[in-house]
Symmetry: C2
Subunit: 184 residues, 2 copies
């Protein structure tokens, strides 16, 4: 489990990125090593690949499992735990977005809704009330959109993304026909 120069750079970069994504450097690096490995790896493989303590790897793997970003599996006649990442990149993105949504967006939506139900909400300024309400609506719209998109299968999702601009042209056309102005 010695890493090539390419591997090294990839791993270091994802370590830095992992730190920005609510994990930490080691977690990001563990993920990067698993991501580039064709075969599932065990904890000691990661210890030698990254040069961190066994316990650190253990905690990192636990966190990656909590994020559902790695899969635990076993091999015949071996009682060690082996880990791998999904092969479908879109599945990975979906998991990442799901998790961040669950950790950041959903709690925010909960708080915003609670605020609006509380007695003293009315005693806030009109301005603040409206901002809170509009923010709630926007987040609801975005999450609804995402909930629709997340069930689209990978091939089709790629098509939809490529359609991006084309979809807007449908609206342009509809506006023209119905006589509604193009710009708000």
């Amino acid at each position: 489990m010695k890493l090539s120069a390419t591997h090294q750079k990839f791993v270091i970069h994802f370590g830095e990125m992992g730190a920005r994504w609510g994990m930490n450097r080691t977690v990001g690096q563990i993920y990067a090593v698993l991501f580039l490995s064709e075969n599932p790896l065990c904890a000691d493989d990661l210890v030698t690949a990254l040069g961190v303590s066994r316990s650190n790897v253990s905690m990192g793997l636990k966190e990656l499992q909590a994020w559902q970003l790695v899969r635990l599996q076993h091999q015949a006649n071996d009682r060690r735990d082996f880990f791998s990442t999904p092969g479908d990149l879109w599945e990975i993105v979906r998991t990442l977005v799901d998790q961040r949504k669950a950790r950041e967006i959903d709690p925010t939506l909960t708080i915003l809704r609670e605020l609006q139900l509380e007695d003293d909400f009315e005693s806030s300024s009109e301005f603040a009330q409206e901002r809170i309400q509009k923010t709630t609506e926007m987040i609801e719209l975005l999450t609804q959109w995402y909930d629709e998109m997340r069930v689209v299968d990978s091939k089709r999702l790629e098509k939809l993304l490529k359609m991006g601009a084309a979809a807007q042209k449908v609206l342009d056309f509809k506006d023209k026909v119905t006589g509604k102005g193009g710009n708000s």
Copy 2:
């Protein structure tokens, strides 16, 4: 600048969220106070609202300016700096995504492209090479899509989001007509 109970909760929540988004608690809280305020506020308003040091507010505001999330402006006969947040929520989301893209996605794309150009790239496993290449392609597709979407004005963007599922139906229809299978 004393905050109501609703304000308090909102501010505390965005402090916690700010910490997850590469800022820190104080930065998130400063932003939350500005976001709910109808009028621009000066640094000392934020000091009293949040009970943190003047220098902390100064640093927080500087970071928010680096993120382009707040706007500095002046008032007549007052040489203090006043700050406010944009009124259009979609503009705020756009700024947030732009910034995170610039800080996370773009550098990642740069690294991935560099890796593929380097001499020893070929000496990585076929598997790793392909993963790196596919990852690059996916990120490119996503950023292209976003680049198209980010210039759509707010009203229209809402329409497009609501279209989400409808857009897929266009593909369903096309597949049916052209005889291509629905699932990949």
